[in-house]
């Protein structure tokens, strides 16, 4: 009964007939404005999630893996061996890591030197960067080295050029000595912060350069679908590996990066909430404006026996519909533009906008439906609450006032 008694009024308020241009324009402009608020929110959400996901993936794939087992012992000779322990693990790589300084005639760069086997670069890792030259291909007597395009630019070197490396010894008694390497590969992950301090060398060379036990470890990659159960994987590894090895995960290894992400995300969501609150107040003021303009109609309805609840319900549903339409359109347009975010970033980078080295220029589109739902839901809840204040005006409109005017 209530729905029937409200629907006719709701429908007409939401869809004014042809000729009522002002009313139509106001509804369209209100919906558009809410959509315009939603578009940047959705874009920012996609950008934030995509960027965080992309950066995280690059750190995991190129620097730390999902799990590290700290031991100089080679635990697995092939991926099948580790998969027998837990089939959620995709790959195991024995790696060494140390630090050094690259010298060229032009410049010096401090780097993290990662010693890996060529098999380290499987398809998942290769998808994280672009390369020039054969990966760590030994062409002469010099040690092959794989440096990033940003380091190559800073040092002023290219493929085939020689580069001096000063190793920072990982054992107290070792002597500091420079050695010559040859640039065989130049990579570009698209994330300057990671690229600028990372080089890869052949593990056969780095084992000699960094002989300390603490420089070696085994890196494990876990299936991306099982990232939430990394603790369970750790448990099964500790259970099945005979020795009590020390384990760590990528987030523990990059605690500060990880915590920065979490904090940034929370701050951004708070900012979103503030923007949504402002948009909700706008919805409320639009509703107030509609009520003010419809004062005569509301008074007439009251004279004909429409109670405050009926009229309020109709106007409430109108404002809710405007919000829902605006949110739906804004989300759709935001998602549509979101698919072009990487192109936009590349365009901005090419146009010489400063500060882009802190962003990924190419990152996967990560749609967090939960967060989008949260933003949309918050918008609807907050605007529904603020609209209640505007609806109070309906109670103050008296049919008597109208009749006295007439």
């Amino acid at each position: 009964m209530r729905l029937v008694s409200t629907y006719w009024l709701y429908r007409r308020l939401l869809f004014p007939p042809v000729g009522f241009t002002v009313k139509r324009r106001r509804l369209v402009s209100s919906t558009t404005l809410i959509a315009l608020v939603m578009v940047p929110l959705i874009l920012a959400l996609l950008f934030m999630d995509g960027m965080m996901g992309g950066i995280t993936d690059k750190y995991i794939m190129l620097q730390d893996g999902h799990i590290q087992i700290h031991t100089p012992k080679i635990l697995f000779t092939g991926d099948e061996e580790v998969q027998k322990i837990d089939n959620r693990i995709l790959k195991a790589d024995y790696v060494t890591e140390g630090f050094g300084i690259l010298y060229s005639q032009k410049n010096t760069v401090e780097v993290r030197i990662k010693g890996v086997d060529v098999s380290y670069f499987n398809s998942a890792r290769l998808s994280q960067f672009t390369t020039e030259g054969g990966i760590l291909e030994r062409t002469g007597n010099l040690m092959p080295v794989m440096i990033s395009s940003s380091s190559a630019k800073d040092l002023g070197v290219g493929l085939g050029d020689r580069l001096a490396v000063l190793i920072v010894p990982d054992m107290g008694e070792a002597a500091v000595r420079p050695l010559f390497t040859q640039v065989t590969t130049i990579f570009d992950s698209g994330y300057y912060q990671l690229d600028t301090g990372l080089i890869f060398m052949d593990i056969k060379d780095t084992i000699k350069l960094f002989p300390a036990a603490s420089s070696a470890r085994t890196e494990l990659l876990v299936d991306s679908r099982d990232l939430d159960s990394i603790d369970e994987v750790l448990d099964s590894l500790s259970e099945k590996l005979s020795n009590p090895y020390r384990f760590s995960t990528w987030d523990a290894y990059n605690r500060s990066v990880y915590e920065n992400f979490i904090t940034s995300r929370q701050v951004i969501l708070m900012v979103f909430l503030m923007i949504i609150l402002v948009a909700s107040v706008y919805v409320s003021s639009i509703t107030g404006e509609i009520i003010q303009d419809d004062r005569q109609s509301i008074a007439t309805l009251k004279a004909m026996g429409a109670g405050n609840p009926l009229i309020r319900r109709a106007y409430f549903h109108v404002s809710l519909s405007i919000t829902v339409f605006g949110v739906a359109i804004g989300t759709g347009v935001g998602l549509l533009f979101g698919t072009r975010l990487s192109e936009l970033m590349t365009f901005l980078s090419n146009s010489g906008l400063p500060g882009l080295q802190y962003y990924l220029l190419d990152f996967p589109l990560t749609v967090s439906w939960g967060d989008i739902g949260l933003v949309a839901f918050s918008m609807m809840v907050l605007s529904s609450i603020t609209v209640l204040f505007a609806l109070k005006r309906i109670g103050k409109i008296s049919p008597l006032e109208l009749l006295q005017q007439s």
Partner: protein
């Protein structure tokens, strides 16, 4: 007027009874008494016209009768119930079911067609749209607006709008029709047409009519005519 005697005869069979009704309005520090100790009753099926000078309280009396306003003192009793004792929701429902209003400026909703305007009181009551539309169409046909049912008020003449307003007043089949200067804003020809229509419809439908008008000719078509002056009411012979 003797306050113990209620104008309009037997109060126990009355549709509407004013008992010692006073109404005053405050304007800043000043208080303006419009009606004072007014007794009046309206019998079911009767037609009564109220006349009087501008500012004599005619519209105030109609507002009180229609539950749009409450008296400062005294009571307005409709079918045995004191309107002042009803809450907002109850009063709205009461107006919807028991009173049909026809105002001077017809007050139709601009963004609803003639047919939809007529439907509104029944839709407020919660009746299904197809049933209401059918009834409204028949009413509009009776007043000669069958070709104009989908027209919006701004496309209708003053007389046509008033005919729509009369249909709207009758759609819920209320026992009482309150008409406040229904011909006041019309030209002579249209006014005459609306007069005839209102009187015919009220008679055919067996309604009680409470009419306020300046036009004595129109007033005389009612069963009784009352004059409001000096904040009270008296029947004209």
């Amino acid at each position: 007027m003797n306050s113990n005697q209620t104008i309009g005869a037997e109060t126990d069979k009355a549709l509407l009874v004013f008992k010692q009704v006073s109404k005053e309005y405050a304007s800043g520090e000043k208080r303006l008494m419009i009606l004072e100790g007014l007794d009046f009753s309206l019998q079911n099926g009767s037609s009564v016209a109220i006349t009087g000078k501008s500012g004599s309280g005619k519209s105030t009396m109609l507002n009180l009768a229609g539950g749009l306003d409450i008296p400062t003192s005294g009571s307005v009793v409709f079918l045995g119930r004191n309107l002042a004792g009803m809450g907002d929701r109850e009063l709205s429902a009461f107006r919807n079911r028991h009173i049909g209003f026809v105002f001077q400026s017809h007050i139709l909703l601009d963004d609803f067609s003639a047919l939809e305007n007529v439907c509104i009181p029944s839709l407020i009551h919660g009746e299904p749209l197809p049933v209401v539309r059918d009834r409204a169409s028949r009413l509009l046909s009776r007043v000669g607006l069958e070709d104009r049912i989908n027209h919006f008020p701004q496309k209708l003449s003053g007389g046509e709008r008033q005919r729509v307003a009369i249909c709207r007043a009758l759609i819920n089949n209320p026992p009482l029709i309150i008409a406040d200067e229904p011909t006041g804003s019309l030209d002579e020809e249209a006014a005459s047409h609306i007069e005839n229509l209102l009187m015919d419809m009220v008679r055919e439908e067996g309604k009680t009519l409470l009419l306020v008008t300046h036009d004595m000719q129109f007033a005389k078509r009612c069963g009784s005519v009352y004059l409001l002056h000096n904040r009270n009411i008296e029947e004209l012979s």
